[in-house]
């Protein structure tokens, strides 16, 4: 095991830690900060793996990541959703934070065991901590989506899931054409932009960004029935 490997291991550990942070964050702002840190760690891991396997391609990935996720995406978010991010307000979740963290921990362990057979099937040079951690971050992101109610933390959980997929990807699919990486990064920017527009529209027309409270579209809600009976 080389120094680069252990450094990569460290980056991976911290990467997973930021995902836990996103699960537990109490403010939209800190969640965004954690996302930026996470993207930096992703870039760092790509750089380390690039050095380790002497792949200029991974340097490209690192650069694309820093530009898109550390600079541009936070910039767009701050531009479009300034108020959402900087008002100091508790962002609650369905479960309390210790319970959430325990569940998240279980998910991370599950992810590790899920990836064991995968690790066996691929060649040694593609193995590493990245795969298990990537899967874990995807699961944690899904979990965050399920328990959060505010729009901005939800968006950040989505972006963190994509980071997780990439974190596994830089180890698994190292020679993916750079064109594809660039296209994915551009795509991420468009996603954030559109989501920002949508969140603003929600705020303007409904007056809240607590999207968890949007529950009008149900199959059988009492108020729909009332409405129906009034109209009849």
């Amino acid at each position: 095991m080389t120094t680069l490997d252990s450094l990569n291991m460290l980056a991976g550990g911290l990467f997973l830690l930021t995902a836990f942070g996103i699960v537990a964050a109490r403010q939209a702002r800190s969640s965004l900060g954690l996302f930026i840190a996470q993207s930096l760690l992703l870039a760092a891991s790509a750089l380390l793996l690039g050095l380790r396997y002497n792949s200029s391609h991974l340097y490209g990935v690192a650069v694309v990541n820093v530009v898109a996720k550390v600079i541009l995406i936070p910039w767009i978010l701050r531009r479009t959703l300034h108020q959402e991010i900087y008002t100091r307000r508790e962002i609650d979740q369905v479960l309390n934070i210790p319970t959430s963290l325990l569940i998240a921990l279980t998910l991370a362990i599950v992810a590790y065991f899920l990836t064991v057979p995968l690790q066996r099937a691929i060649e040694a040079q593609f193995r590493g901590p990245n795969i298990a951690i990537g899967f874990a971050v995807i699961l944690l992101g899904t979990y965050t989506l399920a328990v959060r109610r505010e729009a901005v933390p939800l968006l950040i959980a989505l972006l963190a899931m994509e980071n997780g997929a990439f974190f596994a990807g830089i180890s698994l699919a190292r020679t993916l054409p750079l064109l594809v990486e660039l296209a994915i990064a551009t795509d991420g920017l468009i996603v954030v932009f559109i989501a920002g527009v949508l969140i603003r529209a929600v705020h303007k027309h409904i007056g809240t960004t607590e999207v968890g409270a949007l529950t009008r579209l149900r199959e059988l809600t009492p108020d729909v029935q009332e409405e129906g009976s009034v109209r009849n």
Binding site: P117, L118, R120, A121, I122, E123, F126, G134, F135, I138, G141, T142, L145, A151, L154, L158, M161, E162, G164, A165, F166, A168, G169, L172, A173, T175, L176, P177, V180, A183, I184, D187, I190, V191, I194, A195, V197, L198, A201, V202, H205, I206, V211, L214, T215, R216, L217, E219, L220, V224, G228, R231, N232
Partner: protein, 472 residues
């Protein structure tokens, strides 16, 4: 490809936007027909080797997208005019509309799976603002759910595509395209391939509306403006399902991956749950949306059964008839909405008297999508039953028939009450329906009827070609 120009010309003025949209969608339709005919005569059309090409399977999907986008553009013309939107939002509508169509057309054309993934994600973001177009509480809620769940699915699918790439490398490498994958499949480790398939099935299945992940679909497909619903329900789901179907030849080549079982289980689950949900809907646009979930399940199931070319052919045939009929249904629902001004089934009664056109088209659409005998959906469903029985999958087919039967009664029960039921309330008076809406309705309706009795030879060949692409 000329759609990029069209998308740009959608920007400046509202009138121009409409004209450009109509012209470009008609132009695209002509072009795709041309491409499809060339596919029939040559087997495949290659624009840029390794990146862009059209074969039988993508030809079918391409043709469907182009056709529905043209009729929807026609329908939008009258529908938006009748709803009197301001010019700024019309501009946004047409710009987004063109971008959405452009991204959908790109799905079947690209050959590199990760690029296809990007395009699928783009269809989500381009259509999000179309779903929220009305800016009501419900529309925004629907759009938000749509974006969040689809993007969550996309992240899972991305991991799936990356694992697929890894399994390709483990299998000896080669060009990462659909064809390259199928060629390298026998050497790939089954466990990797299976993981990739499940991740992609769950990820993209979210966007197709397969059952455990379907919750956003009835919301988005009922709250969007009707022409957009026709696109979302009729072709977007089919186009994304196409990506999943693309993996079947790859998986069949690799022994020990249980792709068929997964497809059959997800398919049956979707059909079953949708059938029961169809019984209790209160909103007629939601009703058609649930019917989309049902049909996606049927197509996936048929593809999963497909060890003979007959089953595969009928899966594609089902995709074709579903797209045509479903776009017709949403046009009919749009006309009905213009006529009565509510989406609730309970408050629509005796539509045949208040608005004969809306009533007749809703009845026609309901019968056609539920699969009543003279229509094309009946024929395609019947061919799935027959092909499935010929393979000896009795239990699966029996369940399928049962669920489709339940769905059939659900749809017809509601449609019947809406069209013929007696209304105590005074009607709103007759509404003049826009001519272009009626034209779109007429063209699609004519085709729905025509395919029930007659199948043009080139189209038959295209479907057969597509069926061979589905297998190896």
């Amino acid at each position: 490809m000329p759609l990029i120009a069209a998308a740009l010309s959608g920007l400046p003025w509202p009138r121009l936007g409409l004209a450009a949209t109509l012209a470009s969608s008609l132009g695209t339709l002509a072009l795709t027909v041309h491409v499809a005919l060339r596919v029939v005569s040559q087997g495949a059309v290659v624009a840029i080797p390794r990146w862009i090409a059209v074969d039988g399977l993508s030809g079918v999907v391409l043709l469907l997208i182009a056709f529905v986008s043209a009729t929807s553009a026609l329908f939008s013309w009258g529908y938006l005019a009748a709803n009197a939107h301001e010019t700024a939002s019309m501009r946004i509508y047409y710009a987004n509309y063109n971008l959405f169509i452009f991204s959908m057309l790109a799905i079947p054309m690209f050959r590199e799976p990760t690029l296809v993934w990007i395009i699928v994600e783009l269809t989500t973001v381009c259509s999000a603002l179309l779903v929220s177009f009305d800016n009501t509480h419900e529309a925004l809620e629907a759009a938000w759910k749509y974006v969040v769940l689809s993007l969550m699915g996309a992240a899972i699918a991305l991991l799936g595509f990356l694992v697929l790439f890894a399994s390709m490398q483990a299998g000896g490498g080669g060009a990462y395209t659909w064809d390259g994958l199928a060629a390298a499949a026998p050497k790939m480790p089954p466990i990797l391939l299976q993981t990739a398939f499940v991740l992609i099935l769950v990820g993209l299945g979210t966007k197709v509306g397969l059952v455990p992940m379907h919750t956003w679909l009835p919301d988005a497909h009922s709250q969007a403006p009707s022409p957009v619903c026709a696109l979302l329900s009729g072709v977007e789901t089919t186009a994304v399902l196409y990506v999943i179907l693309r993996l079947f030849p790859v998986l069949q080549a690799a022994p020990g991956s249980h792709a068929e079982t997964w497809a059959i289980v997800f398919g049956l689950l979707s059909v079953g749950v949708a059938a029961f949900l169809l019984l209790q809907v209160r909103d007629y646009k939601r009703m058609f949306a649930f019917s989309t979930v049902e049909h996606m399940g049927i197509i996936l199931l048929a593809a999963g059964l497909g060890s003979s070319s007959a089953v595969r052919y009928s899966a594609l045939y089902q995709a074709l008839t579903h797209t045509l009929t479903k776009s017709f249904c949403f046009f009919a629902a749009g006309v009905a909405l213009l006529a009565v001004g509510t989406r609730e089934i309970a408050s629509v009664r005796g539509l045949i008297r208040t608005s004969p056109v809306a009533g007749v088209s809703l009845l026609f659409g309901g019968l056609a999508i539920a699969g009543a005998p003279p229509f094309a959906v009946f024929l395609s469903e019947f061919s799935i039953f027959r092909a499935g029985l010929a393979e000896g999958r009795y239990l699966v087919i029996a369940l399928l028939v049962l669920f489709i039967g339940i769905g059939f009664f659900g749809i017809l029960f509601h449609v019947n009450r809406m069209v013929f039921g007696s209304s105590e309330r005074p009607s709103r008076g007759r509404v003049r329906l826009p001519a272009s809406c009626l034209a779109a309705l007429g063209i699609t309706g004519l085709l729905v009827l025509a395919f029930g009795v007659y199948m043009p030879e080139p189209l038959h060949k295209l479907l057969a070609l597509g069926a061979t692409t589905l297998a190896r």
